[in-house]
Symmetry: C2
Subunit: 374 residues, 2 copies
């Protein structure tokens, strides 16, 4: 089961794209195919969160195989905003079972052509109806969590803003990022309020983009060594804690156990920073820092590109962008590039073990994936 390798990866530039979704997926898949050096695939596993409403596409897995010119078995997998990781895990099982040898995994979403209020409405579908009925949106629930975290652990507004500053800095080295420019802390703190205390620059943008990844049972340089997946209650109000996500904690535990490592063995990580506070919470849920100490680690430079444990070297969802069906896979692609020493200006030295963590819905369908150079 533990002999599944990544043979190649691809990604489009994230941001505002004019091409149709299937064209973006084609671009990413072609890059992954060329990177893998392989010509033929047994199946196409496709991740997309809501192509029906966003791009008027049904039957999306066949839409993709059609554009790819690969009439291969194909399914679509969806786990809300962690879809890109969900499809990777499903494809892993198909290869690990021995049923398929080589699988092309793709994930993509096209969102920027829709007016933001409409997108927000579509995305709010992932929220529990008993919370949605009161007007809850993703940012408003995230604001609630952030405020509670600030209260419990004394995190100040400035430190929160440093997540965005760090991730935009990293994104400035990433040719695939939605935002490839630095921002100042002042700019974050002066950006317009979205949901108090979260401001515009605390939130990942709405983006278009696609990713691809070839999984194979043939030995390659990068092995998939750990997988973990867990759900949580749909409603936030049914949870014991607001300041940590148990679905991440549980998924991490499983992934570490499978990979036979602990959090201290991880050389770099891509985490789900849909909101700045989430990066701090994610790092604690993953066991990188003690509860309440994520902000201090950030301030101390530990999570910087040159720090002991670089977090979101790609720029994260915050700067690379967040096409919901692609993000989870984009994180995995970023880890792969570092392990293969292909990350160019943002290369993390001596990277041997990388982890990615994706949040689905309001942190109730989370996945952790660990890759190892071998």
């Amino acid at each position: 089961m533990d002999k599944v390798f990544v043979a190649g990866c691809g990604m489009t530039r994230f941001g505002k794209r004019e091409e149709p979704l299937s064209e973006l997926v084609f671009e990413a898949a072609k890059m992954a195919q060329e990177d893998s050096g392989m010509e033929d695939f047994d199946a196409v596993y496709a991740g997309s969160m809501n192509p029906e409403e966003l791009t008027d596409d049904g039957n999306i897995s066949t839409v993709f195989t059609d554009r790819l010119g690969m009439q291969k078995p194909s399914l679509r997998i969806e786990t809300a905003s962690s879809t890109g990781a969900g499809v990777f895990h499903c494809a892993f099982f198909a290869v690990a079972s021995g049923f398929y040898k080589n699988v092309m995994v793709v994930g993509g979403e096209k969102m920027t052509h829709i007016p933001t209020p409409k997108t927000t409405q579509i995305m709010a579908r992932v929220i529990s109806p008993i919370e949605r009925v009161y007007g809850a949106t993703m940012p408003s629930l995230a604001a609630l969590v952030t405020r509670r975290y600030m209260h419990e652990f004394g995190l100040d507004r400035e430190t929160l803003g440093l997540v965005a500053v760090k991730n935009h800095h990293n994104g400035s080295f990433n040719e695939y990022a939605h935002f490839q420019k630095e921002i100042s802390l002042k700019k974050v703190l002066e950006s317009r309020m979205v949901s108090d205390p979260l401001r515009l620059y605390d939130c990942a943008p709405i983006s278009d983009g696609a990713c691809a990844c070839v999984l194979t049972s043939n030995k390659k340089d990068v092995r998939v060594s750990g997988l973990g997946h867990a759900t949580d209650t749909l409603s936030l109000l049914h949870r014991d804690s607001l300041t940590g996500f148990s679905a991440t904690q549980e998924a991490a535990k499983k992934a570490y156990s499978m990979a036979k490592i602990g959090p201290l063995d991880v050389d770099l990580a891509e985490v789900h920073d849909a909101f700045t506070s989430f990066e701090i919470i994610d790092c604690e849920d993953l066991g990188f820092f003690k509860k309440g100490e994520g902000g201090k680690a950030l301030k101390g430079g530990i999570t910087a590109l040159e720090g002991d444990l670089p977090i979101n070297p790609s720029g994260g969802l915050k700067a690379r962008g967040h096409p919901v069906g692609a993000s989870g896979l984009a994180q995995i692609v970023e880890i792969y590039w570092h392990l293969k020493k292909m990350a160019k200006k943002r290369q993390v030295d001596m990277a041997k073990i990388g982890l990615s963590q994706s949040i689905g819905g309001f942190a109730n369908n989370n996945l952790v994936t660990i890759l190892e150079a071998c």
Copy 2:
């Protein structure tokens, strides 16, 4: 890889249901859980085609785990109208890989509360945009295929109607069927025209319903012995033939090869009769009868409940109903019941090997599943 068993199954009555989708899924899952005698599951695999638009539910796999009270890893799988089979295949891989021992597979859709023109519009999303733009709908494309088949193979209108008569007869013995009453050939031929030559009684109804199935690596009475999956071009106009579906032919070939059997070894089959002509085409694609001879076999009673090869003992999509995310799994559940001798009044005697075949979109994402009593 070939040691995956079905431990239990469940199904709601299909038809017009008042309960929310998650409630239907709960009902089916509870029945499957009780049938399996198992208490705990490692994951929940969920199939639903378009809950976002049909029932305003996003993040559906977490919605289901929440209602089931199982905070387990959960993903949603979708392959248009073959979704129920797609999710079964994905769950198979997860068990076959050794990653999970016991997986609860669910599939459901709620559709009847939406006005039919709106549902037709939502379902038409699965059609290629280059055909959709001319107003193509599922029934209109099916009518084109049917007319061509009648022309090429001399199938007459009356024989086509006999598919509906047979399947309603079978459905009259099925307490879970949407339509549990017989219909006459006259009634079929006099029903209103939907798309010439297809009349209302040639088309599967819009239904609500859910199914569930427990897959396990522990030895049980029913083994999953064959799986096959194939896609085809999105557009009908890009295909060589209108009178056969290559995605079914290819999926069947793979499934037979895996199960080490041929079509003559199959004791009963559930096939995707979304339209009466599809049942005839499906049977030929599966190799049960020579090309063009499916109508003759039907007229000769071979596919009747008491015939040599009963087709759609459940009543098929035509009479059991067609909640799109459930149908593919409902077919598998029906086969399981026959192999376990639990099919009551419609029990097929001496059933040892059963096959189910599902069509996704306009026959471009098709799956074949073979179960064996052991």
